[in-house]
């Protein structure tokens, strides 16, 4: 059984738009911690964007971040402190990468 259709870049972009809009709708009434949870989930989906869009180079770093996000995001359901710590770690990794990409290479 085929669970996911082959997505085009535009199709995937539209899917992310749906996810963001319906998440915004949900976040009006859902537990406050679902906000960061949805944002992490969006980050995970965005990391897959180069797989579907032409003209975007694969980004192994973002895939690495995606793997961490997907492993840690469910902590929100049972260990909020660990969830907060995981977000800090993800941001820290992104900042290090930002320095590498935008400062050290200049």
């Amino acid at each position: 059984m085929k669970m996911t259709e082959q997505k085009t870049g535009n199709g995937y972009l539209f899917e992310i738009a749906l996810f963001l809009a319906t998440s915004a709708q949900g976040c009006l009434n859902e537990p406050p911690l679902y906000g960061p949870f949805r944002l992490l989930d969006a980050l995970s989906k965005l990391a897959d964007f180069p797989d579907h869009a032409t003209g975007l180079a694969p980004d192994p770093f973002l895939k690495e971040i995606k793997a961490i996000v997907d492993e840690k995001k469910f902590l929100v359901m049972y260990d909020v402190d660990a969830f907060r710590k995981a977000i800090d770690e993800i941001v820290e990794k992104l900042v290090k990468e930002m320095k590498k990409r935008y400062i050290e290479t200049k």
Partner: protein, 181 residues
């Protein structure tokens, strides 16, 4: 499987295999659902079984809480008009949700007893789901139950200690128990 094993063994599953769930298994889950208790025996529930893969994919796209991909989802709705007609405002505003929740609990326990995993989803766009599944006025989508064969076994989350949730005779009075967690 012993009922206490089922109650304690069921988890919210978020990674699934793509194996199809057979119709007779779906029937058993639905039968368990309709035997749930309901206030004044109103049985306000309506079930929309979603097994069409294209439709499932669309429902998933508008349901941020639908995590993982499953071959099956069942939308549990309440007939709010019937609840109001029979149960008044108490029925419409409170019992409809409670009744559907009891049906859903039966569903997820039955699914687990049949070797399936499931997750109860409330984070879906009500407007989008109503539109896509052509849900009429007066019928309210309450909960989406996603079902499939589990690809992992989640660790049980901690329980609030029983001493913090159970009291004897008066609220706040210690309840003697041998239960640790």
């Amino acid at each position: 499987m012993d009922i206490f094993e089922v109650i304690k063994g069921r988890r919210s599953v978020r990674r699934y295999k793509s194996d199809v769930v057979s119709n007779d298994v779906v029937d058993k889950i639905l039968d368990a659902a309709r035997w749930a208790p309901s206030g004044s025996n109103i049985q306000p529930w309506k079930f929309v079984v979603i097994s069409d893969m294209n439709l499932l994919e669309l429902v998933r796209k508008v349901s941020p809480g639908y995590l993982g991909e499953t071959p099956l989802a069942i939308l549990v709705c309440s007939d709010r008009e019937r609840e109001y007609r029979v149960g008044g405002t108490l029925g419409r505003d409170y019992l409809s949700i409670a009744d559907c929740s009891m049906a859903v609990e039966n569903m997820v326990l039955a699914a687990y007893a049949l070797g399936l995993g499931s997750c109860i989803v409330k984070s879906f766009s009500r407007i989008a789901v109503k539109e896509m599944l052509e849900i009429p006025e007066g019928i309210e989508p309450e909960l989406l139950v996603i079902i499939g064969y589990p690809a992992h076994k989640p660790t049980p989350p901690a329980r609030i200690p029983i001493g913090e949730i159970v009291y004897l005779n008066k609220y706040g009075e210690k309840f003697p128990t041998s239960l640790e967690r």
